[in-house]
């Protein structure tokens, strides 16, 4: 859509939306948030870009095909499920790794990898649907 206001606002809002999506994603385990809602907000950023600049420009900044994102998301879901096999525990058991770097504690876990998978799946799915809808032509005979 050709509009100076929309283009300028989109450049500002993209950063805010992506930042908020990452914030929601990392807060997810103990408080409201997580991979799903973070992915929805992140997909909202790409939807806004697709409406303002067209799908071609959005494909260019996304770098990979949305379906590829879904595939990598499923791969990381499987990886998070396989990790507990190495200690002889059932599939998808949550494993935690506590590290201390520079006086602050960093918690790495297999649920985090699972959440990254959910995030990628949601972003890939929503962006694929939006691209399909955006690239569709208006029907030839509209009877309103």
């Amino acid at each position: 859509m050709k509009s100076l206001i929309l283009h300028t606002t989109t450049r500002l809002m993209m950063a805010v939306l992506v930042l908020f999506s990452i914030f929601l994603f990392f807060r997810g385990h103990d408080e409201p948030g997580g991979g799903f809602i973070g992915g929805l907000v992140g997909a909202g950023a790409f939807t806004l870009y697709a409406i303002a600049f067209g799908t071609e420009a959005t494909r260019k900044i996304l770098k990979v095909h949305p379906i590829t994102l879904i595939a990598y998301g499923l791969l990381s879901l499987v990886i998070s499920g396989i990790i507990p096999f190495f200690t002889g525990e059932p599939f998808l058991t949550g494993k935690w790794l506590m590290m201390e770097i520079g006086g602050s504690e960093i918690k790495l876990s297999s649920p985090l990898i699972f959440d990254i998978g959910v995030f990628l799946c949601v972003v890939g799915f929503i962006v694929a649907v939006i691209f399909a809808l955006e690239e569709e032509e208006l029907p030839a005979n509209t009877n309103h």
Partner: protein, 98 residues
Amino acid sequence: MDFFSIAILGVYILLSLALLISLVRVIVGPTLPDRVVALDLIAFIVISFIAAYSISSGHPVYLDVAIVMALIAFLGTIAFARYVIQYSNKTKSEGGHV
């Protein structure tokens, strides 16, 4: 009843009135742009509802819902605007009326 709960009650009543009036505009609205603007207004009144409820209940978590809605709500309006532009271009080129 202290001042705080009276103020919250007043906010709820005023917001409900605003919601009702914009609903009337959605139903009556003579043209499509009127309805689109009214729907946009309804989304932002809902955001105000969430913020007021967050204050009255004392849970700041609800403010995140308001932030997400404020970031996303205008997407629908932009999509509607796009549709209106496409549709008017199409009918103009076919010589029809909007």
